[in-house]
Symmetry: C2
Subunit: 373 residues, 2 copies
C-alpha cells in the first residue's frame, strides 16, 4: 500500500481481468470480490448483527442520508459509530448521502445540495465537506465522496456536468478529510467515477478521479436506467483506467448476472438492496434462478427454498411453511427469506473467488448466465 493510503488490495489470483484477494484495512481485512448487504438505517432490514455474523458477512453498507437525519450522526458518534451503535464488528462502508438526496429533486449548486427530509419535510444541506464530516461521525471504515449521479438516459451535457462537478467535489472532499488523515485517521476514502454510458467520459472521469488519488474507487452512475449491454462497455472503460492495485466498487449493482459480468471486468466490491428487498416480497435467489414463493405450487412443498443450501433457513424450514408465513403476513417470513437470499448472494461471491483462484471463472459466469437474465 502506498504510505498515504490506509487500505490495500492484496490480490492472490487473477483469471483474465477478474481478480480475487483481500482488502486489508486498519480493522482487519475482507475477501474480494465481495457483496455488501445494505444496512440502510444501521440495520440490514429484518436482520441483526448476530444474523450477519452467522451469515459470514465481512462488510456491510450504511446510508449517510438516513442516518444523518435519524438518529443523527452525532448520536451515532457517541456510540462509537455505526459499528458500536449496532454492535457490528465487521467492516462498514458508508455512502455519501448523494444518491438518496438526488432522488429528492434537490436544489444543486457548486456549493452542494439543498433537500427536504423525507422524515419530516425539514430542509437540510449537504456539501462535499459536510458529507465527509457526517461520515467521520458515522465512523465507517470506508467513506465515499459526494458525487453527482444523473439518471440514465440523460443528455450528454448533463453527464458531462456531473463528471465536472463530481471531480470538483472529490477534490474538496479529499481536502476536507486531510486534517483527520494527518491526525492519524484510518478511515479510508473512495473517489467515484461518473460518465454515464459514454466510454470517453468514463475514461476521462476515471483519470481525473485517480489523479486526485483515493484509497479506492467507486464506479457510480450505472444501473440507473440503462441496459446491461449499455452498462458493461462503460464499466470496462472505467476499470481499464483504475489502478490495478486498488479496490474497485461498482455501486448499487446486485443482480447475479451483472455481478459476474462486472467481476469479469475486474470489479472487487458491490452493494445492492436486491437480495433483501426481493426476499421481503417472496422472491428467492437460487442457483436455478428466481423462485416466486407466493406461487400456489409451493403451498404443500416440503423442500427447502433451495435443496442442498446450507443456510439456517434451508436447514430447518420448508417452502410450504415459509410460503404460509409470507401469505398471512407473519414478519418471520421476511427474516427467514432474507437470511437465505443474503446467504445465497454471499455464496455466489465465494464461488466467484474460488473460481478465479482455480482459473475457472468463465464456467461460473456461463452457469450464472444460463439461469439469470
Amino acid at each position: 500500500m502506498n504510505d498515504h493510503h490506509v487500505l490495500s488490495l492484496t490480490s492472490t489470483a487473477t483469471d483474465g481481468a477478474a481478480r480475487t484477494g483481500r482488502v486489508v484495512t486498519a480493522r482487519g481485512s475482507f475477501a474480494t470480490p465481495c457483496f455488501m448487504p445494505v444496512g440502510t438505517r444501521a440495520s440490514v432490514r429484518t436482520l441483526s448483527a448476530a444474523d450477519l455474523e452467522a451469515l459470514g458477512a465481512e462488510i456491510i453498507l450504511g446510508n449517510t442520508y438516513h442516518l444523518m437525519l435519524r438518529p443523527g450522526a452525532e448520536l451515532i458518534a457517541e456510540f462509537g459509530g455505526i459499528g458500536g451503535f449496532s454492535d457490528w464488528h465487521g467492516h462498514v462502508l458508508t455512502d455519501s448521502g448523494g444518491f438518496q438526496i438526488f432522488s429528492l429533486e434537490p436544489k444543486v449548486t457548486d456549493e452542494g445540495a439543498r433537500f427536504r427530509s423525507t422524515y419530516d419535510g425539514s430542509y437540510h444541506h449537504l456539501s462535499p465537506e459536510g458529507s465527509v464530516e457526517v461520515q467521520q461521525l458515522l465512523g465507517s471504515d470506508i467513506m465515499m465522496v459526494l458525487d453527482v449521479c444523473p439518471p440514465l438516459p440523460s443528455p450528454l451535457g448533463v453527464i458531462r456536468g456531473a463528471v465536472d462537478r463530481s471531480a470538483m467535489w472529490a477534490t474538496r472532499a479529499k481536502a476536507a478529510n486531510a486534517a483527520a488523515r494527518a491526525a492519524g485517521s484510518t478511515q479510508a476514502q473512495f473517489g467515484i467515477v461518473q460518465g454515464g454510458i459514454d466510454v470517453a467520459l468514463r475514461a476521462e472521469s476515471a483519470e481525473r478521479t485517480v489523479a486526485i488519488d483515493f484509497d479506492g474507487y467507486g464506479i457510480g452512475g450505472l444501473s440507473v436506467g440503462e441496459t446491461r449491454e449499455e452498462m458493461l462497455p462503460a464499466l470496462a472503460a472505467t476499470t481499464a483506467v483504475l489502478p490495478a492495485d486498488q479496490p474497485r466498487y461498482l455501486m448499487g449493482v446486485g443482480d447475479p448476472r451483472s455481478l459476474v459480468e462486472a467481476v469479469a471486468l475486474g470489479v472487487d466490491m458491490f452493494d445492492c438492496v436486491l437480495p433483501t428487498r426481493l426476499a421481503r416480497h417472496g422472491t428467492i435467489l437460487t442457483s436455478q434462478g428466481r423462485l416466486n414463493l407466493r406461487n400456489a405450487r409451493f403451498a404443500r412443498d416440503p423442500e427447502p427454498l433451495e435443496p442442498g443450501c446450507a443456510c439456517p433457513t434451508c436447514a430447518r424450514w420448508s417452502r410450504a411453511y415459509l410460503r404460509h408465513l409470507l401469505s398471512v403476513g407473519e414478519p418471520t417470513a421476511a427474516r427467514l427469506t432474507t437470511i437465505h437470499n443474503v446467504h445465497w448472494l454471499l455464496g455466489l461471491m465465494a464461488q466467484a473467488r474460488s473460481a478465479i483462484a482455480a482459473g475457472t471463472f468463465d464456467r461460473l459466469r456461463a452457469e450464472v448466465a444460463e439461469h439469470w437474465a
Copy 2:
C-alpha cells in the same frame, strides 16, 4: 396419572395454594407454573422455532381459528402437525377456535357456531366435534374443548347459558375424541370452566366439567372486561373445585401481577399475547415495571433494556439503538424487543417456580405487586 389420562402433573413443592412441578406428557415434560408464548399462525410473531429454543420455551400455543383457515388443518397434518410444520420440537397447546370466533358475532346454536372468515369473508361452521377434528389434524399435545366465552359484564342469564352450553359441548367434545383415544392417541384434552365472575356459577361449572373428566382444565371467560378484583374470587372459586393432581390453565392472562396472583391460587399454565404485542409497540417488561422505549429520554441511553438481563437482546444492544430501530420502523426492533419480553416473562415464571420451592412465593408476589398495577 389415572390410566385413562395421557398426561400427569407431578408436583414437587407447594407454598400455600401455589404449586410447582412438571406436566409429564407423551412428548416429554414441561415445568409449571409456565407461560406459553402465543404462536397464532404457527409462528410466535417475529420469532422462529430457533429463537424459542434459545429462549428456553417449553410449550407454545397455536390458534385453531387462524390455522384452520390459513393454511388449513389438512395441510398442517401433512407436515406432522404444527410442530413438524414449524420445526418446533417442544410442546404445543391449541385453543378450540372459539375465542376468536365469538369475537366475530357468529350465529350460535346448540349445534355450533357459524362465522365469516376474517381472511376472505367466506362462511364456516365450527362445532365441538369439528374443533376436535381440526385439533387432531393440527397435532397439538394438548387440545381444548370448544366453549362459549361471553364478554364481561354480561347478564347472569347469558353467563348461565354459557355454562350450560359449554358443559354440553364439553361432553360432545370428549365423545368426539373417544375413538382416537381408544386407538392410542396421546393427544391430551382439557375441559374449560366458565361462569363469569359469579362464584356459585364458577363452582358449578368446575364441578360439571370435572365430572366429564378431562386430562386437565382450562379456566376461560376471565380477563374479558372485568377488574382483577372481580376476577380473583371467581378464579379462587374455580381452583378450589379443580382436582389438585391435574393441570390448571388460566386462559388469556399474561400481565405479571395477575400471573403471580393466579399462581398463588394454584394455577399452573398461562398464555397471552401481552409480551409479544407490547414488545412490538415498544413497551418493555422489566423487574421495575413497564418501560416505554419510545420515550425521548432513551434516545442516547447506552444501557440495555434491563440492566443485568441475560437475554440475547440485552447482551448486545442499547436502549438507544433499539429505540432508533423502533422509531424508523426497522422490523429488527420488534424481534429484539419481543425476545426480551418473552425472556422476561419466562424468567418471571422460573422465579415463581424457584420461590414456591423455597417457600418464599409471597415475597415474589409482593415484589411484583410493587412494580405492576
